[in-house]
Symmetry: C2
Subunit: 410 residues, 2 copies
């Protein structure tokens, strides 16, 4: 069974909105075992919408449209659909009631334009919108199903998941399900990753592995198509085990897990505390460490020592170290880590100093040069990095390797 | 002149990636006066790509494809295009040189798979990729132009803007241009904004105004279609003047400008320095203030005083204030601002304390309660806020109002 998505809206064709609905629907359809081979976008134009509908009906079993259900004159989906399928627009009592409830709940008057939404093509099934005013539509036509959904994601997502997807699952009686799992791997290890999983990357369907380089990390996506949930999970688990056997220590998480989340878990688990002294990253490391709920269990303090005088007078880095080695040096990074550890009274101190650019680089100390030092009760590590990228990227990459350094050393 | 965009990639049809390229390209094409009536997505499937190409060539003057130019077997764009236009694949010297330069710069060996990218359809123009390895392609065919761009946005965006767009502008000799301008307005003023610009929101084309609520700010988008750049600009300027007359002080920027950028400009212009003491925002304010290149001119230090002991012993907040009012209080925010100002020796000190959640709230001090204090040479301000949202959102909203407080008070 195949589905096709048509997104309707001139604002999409003007690039004012990014089409997230198509990604959301595609993912849900894939998981339900329904193939999507085409998606398209048309403007608020009846003629072109009709063309797209014809094309989609010739190719797919299920057509899902998004957008154009609102109360303004730009919203042409309902009228176009009614005309296309030769149905009259009739007042739908359920929708009238929904609209009345909606406005009553908000204590505002119903606008006459809004009541236009109560007129829907004869003989279609209307789907209640629990978040907004536009109902969804379900139209059966020559063994094909056309589903019209509202454009705003906060209206579309629950309507699709609760009212449409269960129906599609039943219809499709899909002979298979798709499942995927994303393994997240520390950056700077692309070549080892490639080498380690070379054979897996050549796997042929139904189970495949893809590799994706992200900013500061690498993702391996295992994907499988199987007869049922259980078999799919087993196929994924089998490959994941192989990946973990080869890349163990490089892996920091899976699916929605983040590097800061992994570090937070480790610190909390080991009941260790941390303090961070940052220069070029400007507070981003502290920010990321405190993005995790409950971070006060392990995060004690952060100091953004931007000027040399703050490094010296507040943090306590020796003025001789600063003078002899410069603020961007291994020596200063190490003193920053030691001093913040002592200031915060923590188990771990981390120091970052570098040049985020785009200005401020020299031949000897170019933009992207970053030193990171980690001091633990019985261990210290200092590393030099040379990053490429924009100011934002260099800041982010620095915190990424800093977090990974913590992860690996505790 | 019309253009059509075909995005190629099974990962798009599976919803693993959100299609941001289409929005980017659509926006740039609209600005150049080139109409986009359709965009579509197909998987890594030669047959379906050929169908889409045929359809697009029948409808539009310019076809832009994105993705599928990489070195793996999934990347089918080049071979499919070559076959479709009946051209042989030949080794392109320019691309070979680019690939060699790319890998030399990174000090790594060229993989044989990568060299596959040097084979491009005979007689096409290759466009240098300054960020990645896949070159872009330009194919003239029966007065139509086919442009193939790499999928990753950081490769596609500069290639399109620098090498493709100027060419399209020349080709199109568009009878009109579309211009837009986004006016950015501080959050918390939605009702005033709505009231102030009510009449403008009812404007009919060619010049229209839309309102969009973003996280922590509001955007007004003025859009116009006119015969030329100058007329379009005049129409925009006329409306912008009206908006500014009504909303003056609430406006912090336009288009790509950010709130932190506006604050940075003001601080640098007035030669004022700042230090930040943060609790619930965990370093995000310092991070945002240092995202601006040259921030060392005004940003001296940041302290993330997460624990009470750091607030007391490092920052110097009185233990009595902490005991009597609690860490989340106007009094502590004010002392944090005063103390960080004195520690950093800066003109301005800012203190933020609150509860980011999702845990840690009480009936009296719920999640989202945040106090922000600003201390200047001859002025001090303390404000209470009650935000709703996730932990991330509360952190962000707190820094948003903090930046706005700085903007309004210096």
């Amino acid at each position: 069974m195949t589905a096709e998505i048509i997104s309707i809206g001139t604002e999409l064709l003007l690039g004012h909105i990014i089409n997230t609905n198509t990604a959301f629907l595609s993912q849900k359809l894939a998981e339900a075992g329904i193939d999507v081979y085409h998606t398209s976008v048309v403007g608020d134009n009846p003629k072109r919408l009709v063309e797209s509908l014809k094309q989609a009906l010739a190719r797919a079993d299920i057509i899902i449209t998004t957008g154009g259900l609102g109360p303004t004159v730009d919203d042409i989906t309902i009228e176009t659909i009614a005309k296309f399928f030769g149905r009259k627009l009739v007042r739908n009592k359920m929708v009238v009631k929904c609209l009345r409830d909606y406005f009553k709940l908000r204590g505002t008057k119903i606008l006459s334009a809004t009541m236009r939404q109560a007129y829907t093509p004869e003989g279609v099934k209307c789907i209640r919108n629990n978040v907004g005013t536009a109902p969804g539509l379900l139209i059966d036509h020559n063994k094909k199903l056309v589903v019209c959904l509202p454009g705003p994601p906060r209206e579309l997502n629950p309507m699709f998941e609760n009212a449409i997807l269960p129906r599609l699952r039943k219809m499709s009686k899909a002979a298979w399900v798709i499942k995927s799992r994303t393994i997240k791997i520390s950056g700077g290890a692309e070549s080892q990753v490639n080498k380690a999983v070379k054979k897996l990357l050549e796997l042929k369907p139904p189970t495949t592995v893809g590799i994706y380089a992200k900013l500061g990390h690498v993702e391996l996506r295992i994907m499988t198509k199987a007869k049922n949930e259980k078999l799919a999970q087993a196929a994924i688990d089998r490959i994941e085990k192989k990946v973990r056997a080869k890349l163990g220590g490089y892996i920091f998480g899976a699916d929605d897990e983040t590097l800061e989340g992994a570090v937070a878990g480790l610190l909390a688990g080991k009941k260790m505390t941390i303090a961070a002294a940052e220069s070029c990253t400007g507070g981003l490391l502290s920010d990321r460490l405190t993005n995790i709920s409950g971070s006060s269990r392990y995060f004690v303090m952060g100091l953004v020592a931007y000027s040399n005088s703050v490094k010296e007078n507040v943090l306590g880095v020796s003025k001789y170290t600063l003078r002899d080695h410069g603020a961007v040096s291994e020596e200063v990074a190490l003193e920053m880590a030691k001093r913040i550890r002592s200031l915060g009274g923590t188990d771990i101190g981390i120091g970052i100093t570098g040049i985020a650019g785009p200005k401020g680089g020299t031949k000897k100390k170019p933009v992207g040069l970053v030193y990171i030092a980690l001091v633990l009760p019985r261990k210290k590590v200092v590393k030099e990095f040379r990053f490429k990228g924009s100011r934002d990227e260099i800041k982010f990459l620095s915190t990424q390797v800093a977090l990974d350094l913590i992860r690996k050393n505790i």
